[in-house]
Amino acid sequence: MLRIDKLNFAYGDLKVLWDVDLEVHEGEIVTVVGANGAGKSTTLKNISRLVRPGSGTIRFLGQDLGRLQPHQVVEAGLIQVPEGRRIFPEMTVMENLRMGSYVKGTRGDRERNIAWVFELFPRLREREKQLGGTMSGGEQQMLAIARGLMGNPRLLLLDEPSLGLSPLLVKNIFDILTGINRQGVTILLVEQNVYQSLRISHRAYVMETGRVVLTGQGDELLANDHIRKAYLGM
């Protein structure tokens, strides 16, 4: 579904991605784990075309993303829930959700999708009229995911959804992601919370200093010595 070949990228003179290969198949949850600065978020930014393209190719459903503008990537069904939630602070919960279905082809499903995300996150229904900027971090994260779902994603990219949340809330969010995946949404997750994310993933990639150093099934990696030492402290 998504296939990245030999992606190289630099911020000015600082090279941050080295020959990254990555693949996501339809129906999967794939996680990219790694420490801060390993190049995970930069990889997602490249997929969503938020940065000038580096070398290498990114193909989604056979289409070369290299030629597209950021908004066209979204129109193709590839939606990113960005790091730090990036809720529109001066807009209500409902307005934020409406922006999630801004793309023309998704507006017709707006009412149905709102009902769906309110079912997933009942908290949002209670906060419908509240301004996004006044909500707690956990609520904002729920809103960010819900807003992403409003656009009928074929593939949902999530950048550090667990950042700054309590362990209970993290578990809650990850359970919901599993549920969304069962309903047919393919997920590419970027996480520093290695244990929780590997637990729910079909496959995972480990990135260190801009390179993919390890790849395998979620449970395989959880049993891997290097992972256990470097990321799980065992």
Binding site: H71, P82, F88, E90, Y102
Partner: protein
């Protein structure tokens, strides 16, 4: 008391037009973080357009808004697409130089065509007044222009709050990158915002054409005024610019009556400095953290 009411009402009426100018500037700033120092010159172009339509085609200045608004929208969209879009990621001083330069080109082109002679657009009602009771009378053109302003402002609020495109403009102003992740074409939103901002400035120009002298350098005064209104209300806040415009209108009118019309600008700037001193982010502005 009648004098007080008189100057209060005149202040609110002229403030409505100021609000229109300020909203245009704040809309552009909100979406692009670019301060348009050619804003007053765009207003000036609107004035000349109205003057031409009146003089050669006999179209009433208030009716000509129907032509001025869309034409100035296209003009602003053109400026954005061809010039401003190229400097969106450039340093602030480069953006300022570009908008000042565009303003200079506009005022000098107009000077080349029309010379710097003052033009007067005088309609049958230019100096007419309406009695509203209690010894208070209001200028007819000012009252009509206020009603048009109120209509346009209400339509603009509706557009920004209720339509998908209007919400997308606000979303782009609040978080440009997140807006792109919603599938919003932010370049298109920038063109729309600059077009709308120019249409509002041009319309303000049309509305004041019957009561002001028309000359190529008239824009400078309004650029400054628009800037004061926008900063006073809070950069990027449409509600703030609306309030700021009315407030400046009332202040000018009151100080002209109670102090002297020569001092009204001084009073406005003292008020401006006081607001900045106690609320540095403006009346409706959010402090930047």
């Amino acid at each position: 008391m009648a004098v007080f009411m008189q100057s209060l009402i005149s202040g609110i009426l002229i403030g409505g037009v100021y609000a229109l100018i300020g909203i245009g500037l704040t809309l552009i700033f909100g979406v692009m973080r670019v301060i348009n120092f050619g804003h007053g010159d765009i207003l000036m172009v609107g004035m000349y357009l109205t003057y031409l339509l009146f003089t050669y085609l006999g179209i009433d200045p208030f009716v000509s808004v129907l032509i001025t608004f869309p034409l100035m929208f296209l003009f602003g969209g053109f400026l954005q697409k061809v010039f401003i879009n190229r400097v969106l990621n450039a340093a602030a001083q480069n953006q300022i130089l570009l908008t000042i330069g565009l303003g200079l080109i506009m005022s000098n082109t107009v000077m080349l065509i029309f010379t710097s002679d003052y033009k007067i657009l005088s309609t049958s009602y230019s100096s007419a007044t309406i009695q509203v009771g209690g010894g208070v009378s209001v200028s007819t053109p000012l009252l009509i222009s206020f009603l048009i302003t109120a209509g346009i402002t209400a339509a603009l609020y509706w557009f920004l709050l209720k339509t998908d495109t209007g919400q997308a403009i606000r979303a782009t102003a609040q978080d440009r990158e997140a807006a792109q992740l919603m599938g919003i074409n932010v370049k298109r939103m920038s063109i729309l915002a600059f077009g709308l901002g120019s249409a509002l400035a041009g319309t303000a120009g049309a509305l004041i054409a019957p009561t002001y002298y028309i000359f190529p350098q008239v824009g400078a005064v309004f650029t400054l005024k628009a800037f004061v209104i926008t900063v006073l209300g809070g950069m990027g806040s449409v509600v703030g610019a609306t309030l700021g415009g009315i407030l400046i209108g009332i202040t000018e009118s009151m100080s002209a009556v109670y102090i002297s019309s020569g001092w009204k600008d001084v009073v406005v700037f003292v008020l401006f400095l006081l607001v900045l001193l106690f609320r540095p982010s403006g009346l409706m502005g959010k402090s930047r953290t």
